[in-house]
Symmetry: C2
Subunit: 348 residues, 2 copies
């Protein structure tokens, strides 16, 4: 028996190696070893460590549930990586619905041949973002696919939250409401595009990827007049505002000169020929608030590092045409539409 | 303006086409069109149709949360497909923890070039399985990756459930407890392996993929002596029982002649040279029950179509060696270990 066990042990150690193999996805000893060495130590908590088929934890009367898959390329980009993105994106989707995160579930699809070191770095970053957002990963899954059937790491995170009492819904939006954005737009999309399309360019541009739950909780606690929140990810600010105009049937105007954009982001958008309004953000929120709550909302957002450059950028009008119109810096007018596809695939 | 709109509309229709393009993953008009035409009509319910960042629904005091990614190859196999698998796997992970499903979140990673027809068939099957399991898909996400970076469809499903009051945990397992399996093992894994490795072979073998929540709810309602449940997926029955022996530190014996296996499954395992005990199931449950509850548990399971061939297959002994031992049909003894990797990757 001892020989038999020894052989097994040493072969586990060999195959554990420095790269992920298909066998790491088999649900056997190798999967256990991978999860125990690369994943669990970084995410440790008393619910996760039970390792049961479902994690069990304290609930709430009304729940919010969200899920997103992350396939961003490259895995690491200026200002973040796929691990940080997977936490922030899911936490922000809960937060903009007025929900407080209760738990996160994490599923990995790894590609055979992936370096263990890369997985470890991503898990470090994911764990740091979870700590920053004050959320726990309570359950997970790991699969491995062959070369040419994946691209390193795809992450899917699902978040469950306690729904708050705030009515945040497009149906709440009324003529006269004010649109606020929490800071400079397009940093995430432009940072990823630049890293991918022009890796030779040196730029100070960084993704804005950040968890916004603390900032949004403060906003909702302090300001009663917030009626709708959304994080302008894929599709950018255009996508979110055009969607809102379409759903409410109201006419929304945005003032181009009020929309904050960093010079380096402008520069990158110019080089790559894209409209920053169409570009993904991962650490910004668009808030629609009653006009008399606008100043209080700005003040609440600006108290947070992620909202210090918050600005009023537009308003909801009483024409019932469902159109979003941009008043340009040059004094012109342009209809904003939800982007058709995406300037660059795999931005998140 | 009319020309502009017309052009857009006709180009949406052209690009919508018969195959998935990278632009379908951009979060713009094309993503909306894909989701609205292929996904939403099949899953329609009043929570999902809100299309907000998080779905909000009634909660529970204690929650169960689970997540799994499905990368099975081929997408369709005798007895099921990746859509049915994604619902059943997640529902079963909730059920074996004694939880009643409240909602499912669904995330798709599609590969550029995928035929729309294939996606539609998978979504049909997923919707039918959700109906069978009486669960709703309340939120979702869709991403697209390039050719050579995926393999048609990867699905991740997260399930949130109301945790029951049943204590189902390895720590509850005691010497004397009885092991029951709800029916013939290894059908899922062997059906997928046969479809992939020997597509020329004609066999009646089918995957057992099925939602077990109704059967498990009945078992738990009627039989107070159930102490642990697990669905033997990747790693098979060996994996689950070896894990349980290891976690409890108790000696578990299985009687090979009592373990139900269909003749066609034996035959396929024999041809492919694998041990059916190591092979994945997707519609079976292993139940550990107090000895005086065994007959009642068998009776409760057998009332359900998915449990009609339930059998007592082993017991927990009082030796404290953490070993799982198989008493073979020939009168021999063999230590069962959790499989090392997997006979065939991408079984689920």
């Amino acid at each position: 028996m001892i020989d038999f066990y020894d052989t097994k042990t040493s072969s586990v150690n060999q195959a554990a190696g420095q790269r992920i193999s298909l066998a790491h996805g088999g649900g056997g000893q190798l999967t256990d070893e991978l999860v125990a060495s690369c994943v669990l130590p970084r995410l440790d908590n008393c619910v996760l460590s039970q390792l049961l088929d479902s994690a069990v934890f304290r609930g709430a009367e009304r729940l919010a549930l969200t899920i997103d898959s992350y396939v961003v390329k490259p895995l690491k980009f200026p200002g973040g990586d796929i691990g940080r993105l997977a936490i922030c994106g899911t936490v922000n989707d809960l937060a903009v619905c007025g929900a407080t995160p209760l738990a996160i579930a994490l599923s990995l699809i790894l590609t055979e041949g992936l370096e263990r070191r890369v997985l470890e770095e991503v898990m470090d970053s994911l764990a740091a973002a979870a700590l920053e957002a004050r959320v726990s990963i309570v359950t997970g899954d790991t699969k491995v696919v062959g070369r040419g059937q994946g691209d390193g790491i795809y992450i899917t995170t699902a978040g469950v939250g306690a729904a708050g009492n705030h009515k945040l819904h497009p149906d709440e939006v009324r003529p006269g409401d004010t649109l606020i954005v929490s800071g400079p737009i397009a940093d995430h999309g432009m940072a990823v595009m630049l890293a991918r399309e022009m890796p030779q360019v040196q730029s100070v541009l960084k993704s804005d990827v950040a968890p916004l739950n603390e900032m949004i909780e403060r906003l909702l606690d302090r300001v009663p007049g917030v009626v709708f929140l959304r994080d302008p990810t894929r599709g950018g600010l255009s996508g979110v505002v055009a969607d809102l105009a379409n759903r409410t049937g109201l006419h929304i105007t945005l003032e181009e000169q009020e929309i904050p954009i960093r010079p380096e982001t402008w520069h990158a958008a110019d080089m790559l020929g894209v409209d920053p309004l169409d570009v993904a953000n991962e650490g910004k929120v668009l808030a629609v608030v009653r006009p008399d709550a606008a100043e209080a909302a700005l003040a609440a957002l600006r108290q947070d590092a992620h909202g210090k450059d918050a600005r009023i950028i537009g308003q909801v009008n009483d024409e019932r045409d469902g159109v979003c119109e941009l008043h340009t810096k040059m004094g012109g007018r342009r209809v904003l539409q939800k982007p058709y596809g995406e300037q660059l695939p795999r931005i998140c």
